[in-house]
């Protein structure tokens, strides 16, 4: 009796979540994904970014971009597992991640390298850690450029193939993160493991679970 009641409660809770997700609009996602940027701006203005705010901003923007990409990779398995479906918001997640990468790259060019082109070219060609990051960014450009209905229609069956590049891009981003300091850092290792696990999931056929 008690057990039955509990099951019904969880089920109705999930129904409620599914219903509210159905009511979500894309702009809700875009706006929510701006929240990390607001927090960053607040931390900057309140002096909480430490002695070298530029480095904190640069790193934070990069990490936020990687984590939004990770969320994007979570959408499919999450939907199969819980029936809570964010698939129609993948474009919003992908574009917002790209937005953070553009900010990250601009911070590097303007505030970090300060448009010293000789050193920028040297970094982009001879420093593996920068090269990996840049390759990831370059791979995402065609994806961002084709994240619209018109391109989806034009590219047809090639569109999903093209967008598989996200797997390569996120791995490159993860390597970029792993290599940024003199030694491996726990945060970067954990992030890389999450990425590898999420990509490995693609090799298994996950059946839709109807447990709720």
């Amino acid at each position: 009796m008690y057990k039955a009641t509990k099951t019904v409660n969880i089920r109705s809770l999930f129904d409620l979540v599914r219903a509210s997700v159905r009511r979500l609009r894309s702009w809700h996602i875009y706006v929510s994904l701006l929240v990390p940027l607001l927090f960053l701006a607040y931390d900057l203005l309140s002096g909480q970014l430490g002695v070298d705010p530029m480095r904190s901003i640069e790193k934070s923007l990069g990490v936020t971009a990687i984590y939004i990409l990770i969320l994007t990779l979570c959408i499919t398995p999450f939907s199969l597992l819980t029936g809570i479906n964010f698939i129609r918001f993948r474009r919003a997640f992908g574009l917002m991640s790209f937005f953070y990468i553009v900010l990250h790259f601009s911070t590097w060019l303007l505030l970090d390298m300060q448009l010293r082109w000789v050193e920028i070219v040297e970094s982009l060609t001879r420093k593996p850690f920068i090269v990996f990051g840049m390759m990831g960014f370059l791979l995402l450009i065609p994806l961002a450029a084709t994240s619209n209905n018109y391109s989806m229609k034009r590219l047809g069956k090639y569109w999903p193939k093209l967008h598989k590049l996200i797997y390569a891009a996120i791995i490159l981003g993860g390597i970029h993160y792993l290599m940024m300091e003199k030694t491996l850092q726990n945060d970067a290792i954990i992030t890389f493991i999450i990425i590898i696990v999420l990509i490995s999931l693609r090799f298994f056929k996950i059946r839709k679970i109807n447990w709720l």
Partner: protein, 309 residues
């Protein structure tokens, strides 16, 4: 305990200020005097005038001290756990007066000086730090280094209970560094015992650390408990960890390529404006050979600096 550090009347040298002349010009410390006696023509010299000495807050909250964590804010959070008194220092190897001396015995016998040096990190940033301490050569002379000794090696304290990262294997602990004896004897090489005239904060390597201003910051080993004199080139921790990136010499050199960070220029952290928002716009400066301390160049005459990096 040996008695070579017992006070004698003759040993006591009054405290005096000593700034590296070249850097004084760069810093604008004697700006008025300098402008009065010289006309500044070099744009470079002009540019250097706006570098200020870093504040104590900046110096104590932006540290690479991996024993306390990898992030530069970690040492400020964790270094308070370090016990720095008593602080025995073991002196061994090719030296006339080996033994274990306490830091307090050593420091009271040394002539305390103040030097403002640029600290250039291999990660491509720099700071200006007003150290106090003593010339390493003074200590070495007192210890009586034997003629056969070619190198001096240093070790940081190994005490995982207080330095939690020593429980991990990110580096082969304890942290080790070394210098060629002529580098150690150079008057620019100091053992710092403080900043801004106060005892060294723990996150900066209390109670005693090396400062070699013409080398990348990681050569300036912190919280030293062992000094030994030897014939062979000593182990240095970062060289051991990644020999392709960090050589034994690690002289600041904008022409030696580093696979991770550009060494052609450095971001000078801090002093650019009021508060932390001001530090957002840190300025890049061209990095100079030997970090601008060109008086050390004779030490490396005839050496291929791109090979012995």
């Amino acid at each position: 305990m040996k008695d070579i550090f017992k006070k004698t009347q003759n040993d006591i040298t009054p405290k005096h200020l000593f700034y590296n002349r070249r850097k004084i010009l760069k810093l604008g410390l004697a700006l008025t005097a300098y402008v009065a006696s010289n006309s500044i023509t070099s744009a470079f010299a002009q540019e250097m005038f706006d570098r200020k000495i870093n504040t104590l807050e900046e110096i104590t909250n932006y540290n690479n001290f991996y024993e306390f964590g990898i992030d530069k804010t970690d040492p400020a959070k964790h270094a308070h756990k370090l016990t720095t008194s008593p602080w025995p220092i073991e002196i061994s190897g090719l030296v006339d007066n080996p033994g274990v001396y306490d830091f307090s015995e050593i420091v009271r016998e040394m002539s305390i000086i103040q030097r403002t040096y640029s600290l250039r990190c291999v990660e491509g940033w720099s700071m200006l730090i007003p150290w106090n301490g003593f010339q390493l050569s003074e200590l070495l002379n007192k210890l009586g280094v034997r003629d056969e000794a070619r190198y001096v090696s240093f070790e940081t304290l190994f005490r995982p209970q207080e330095m939690h990262m020593q429980e991990t294997n990110i580096l082969n602990w304890p942290y080790r560094e070394g210098l060629r004896l002529d580098e150690a004897m150079h008057p620019l090489t100091i053992m710092a015992t403080g900043v801004y005239g106060e005892p060294l904060p723990k996150q900066n390597g209390a109670p005693l650390r090396l400062v070699v201003p013409w080398k990348y910051g990681f050569k300036s080993i912190k919280s030293i408990t062992r000094i030994s004199f030897q014939r062979e080139e000593p182990v240095s921790s970062w060289n051991q960890q990644n020999p392709a990136e960090y050589g034994f010499y690690s002289n600041v050199n904008p022409t030696v390529h580093h696979p991770r960070w550009s060494q052609a220029s450095e971001r000078y952290i801090g002093g650019e404006g009021e508060g932390y928002l001001g530090n957002l716009f840190t300025k890049r400066y061209d990095t100079e050979l030997f970090n601008g301390y060109e008086e050390v160049a004779p030490l490396y005459e005839g050496m291929d600096l791109s090979r012995y990096y």
